[in-house]
Amino acid sequence: MPQAPFKAESFEGKSVNRLPAIVLRNNRWTLFLCLLGVLILAFGYSVRTQPVPNAAPAARTAASDGRVSSGPISESNSPEVTTPPPAQAPGAAPAPVSFTKSPLYTSALSVAGMQEDDNRAEAIEALMESWVTANPQQAADWAGSLPAGTFRDDALSALMVHWAARDPAGAAGWMSRTGVDDGEAASVLAGSWAATDPSAAAAWASSMENLESRRLAVSSAVSTWAHTAPQAAAAFAGRLPDNDRASAITAVISTWAATAPAEAAAWLTDVSFGSPSDHAITLGALVTPWSAQNPGAVSKFINTLPEGPAREAAASQFAVTAAATAPAEALMWAMNLSDPDQRNQVTADACETWYDKSPETFRAGIEEAIGLMDDPAMRRSVYEMLYERDPDFQTQLLQLVDKNAQDKAVPPAPPAPEPLQLPDASLPPQSGQDTPAADP
């Protein structure tokens, strides 16, 4: 039978020497204390190395407690602590700690403690504007050291807005040097840079290694470029490798269509796309702003497109956008889409656009439009849309449509009886036909 390692009675029955018991008890205490120490050390180490997932809550906690933290990541009671938060991109050089000595660092901590709303966004903009003016490197190092999240994205974006206005090449060099490869920041930098030097901005953007950041940056650069020189921007986008080309062309067309949609459409006719979906997305980018300006011209343009997914996409975008100004034409396109799911969805969306633009006109005209919808699923999608927007009118419309349906369902009145053909008295009565009785 196995014996328990420590049994008190095994000592009690023996004479007398208590020393082994004391030693044993000391050993137990020693073991216990050692284990406790190890646990405390392990806990302390884990707490020390555990990153705070979001800067704002940590800093907010400190702010609400009236404490000043050393940074959004590591909370500390000492404002003099200079250890920067260890948020680094993999492979990046360690960030310098200089920003903690900046007089604007305290302001940065205050901004980090704010609730996430418009006021915080304004505060980040103001902070970054001041900090970039004073020392862009410090501002960048602080923003780059923040942990991933919307606060960091906002800080980097605001940094790039102001740094790019002063020294875009310096900002680009900082991104490359530190490995801070944020797509939103790259987009802002490339777009701002392109306002003054589009070729340099586009060249820098297209040289980025990260695919997603590069795509965003290139699209941003050519989009800004298209405001001043759409043909040049389009030509640049058209020469890009396949991975970046379609989104860049879409970005150019989206900008170009806002000012000269017919020119953009003409340029687009000569472009070949790698896939029908890329063509469809680009056509949508053309048609959406154009439909708001000139629905008649867009309708004619869509009629020139060959049947296929690109035409369907263009018609879908036209229907949803043009419903605000030309609802009848928009619904006509929507109700003639080939895919049933897309048709019903776009019809409901077009009705929603129409309702949002003018509820009175919608209420006056929808009954007739519903009458043209043969597919019950299409009607249902419109009713569902209305249920969210205007449930009272939805009920009225349902009753009205039901009433019309009942009216249509009532069997038609029998045709009026033809006038009775009285037999000619001059003719001999046929067999079985009564001879009218002579008046007395």
Binding site: D117, D118, A121, E122, I124, E125, T150, D153, D154, S157, V161, A165, E184, S187, V188, A190, G191, S192, A195, E212, R215, L216, S219, S220, S223, T224, H227, S247, T250, A251, S254, A258, S275, S277, A280, I281, G284, A285, T288, P289, A292, P309, E312, A313, S316, Q317, V320, T321, D339, D341, Q342, Q345, V346, D349
Partner: protein
């Protein structure tokens, strides 16, 4: 003589069985529209791709397709539906129209859902309006005219 099978040959049946069963992967979503734009009217464009349900040869199964793209504007609790260029197909373009009224703009969060109900990781971007940095030179008064 008994031939000796390599490790890869031994594992092949299991790998084939795993591949044939299909691997469910969530869709992905990307953004095309730049974060900073001129003017207040903005058409935000992106692409959603469903990589789910690829079979043993990597082909897309019939159930692949983007069902919807949802977005939420900062400050609003409502998730709205973006307009798709093609419903239930992949890849699909998506569009929203947005009125960007403030200088600091709004952060908008997006995600896509495929026909199997799998959601993509969310992406978010703050869409800002470009603020003109050009300043008009203030004319230096040369003479002071007094009404009195």
């Amino acid at each position: 003589m008994k031939s000796k099978l390599s490790a890869s040959a031994l594992l092949a049946p299991f790998l084939l069985a795993f591949a044939a069963s299909g691997v469910a992967a969530p869709p992905t979503i990307t953004l095309t529209t730049p974060a900073q734009n001129q003017g207040s009217y903005l058409v935000i464009i992106g692409t959603a791709t469903d990589t789910a349900e690829t079979g043993s040869t990597g082909e897309k199964k019939a159930s692949a397709g983007i069902k919807e793209v949802r977005y939420q504007v900062e400050g609003s609790k409502k998730w709205k539906r973006a307009q798709l260029t093609a419903k239930n197909s992949t890849p699909s373009g998506w569009f929203i129209e947005f009125d960007n009224t403030s200088r600091v703009g709004k952060r908008i969060t997006f995600y896509a859902v495929d026909r199997a109900g799998l959601g993509s990781p969310v992406i978010s971007t703050r869409f800002k309006r470009v603020v003109s940095t050009s300043t008009t030179a203030t004319p230096t008064p040369t003479t002071t005219v007094s009404d009195q």
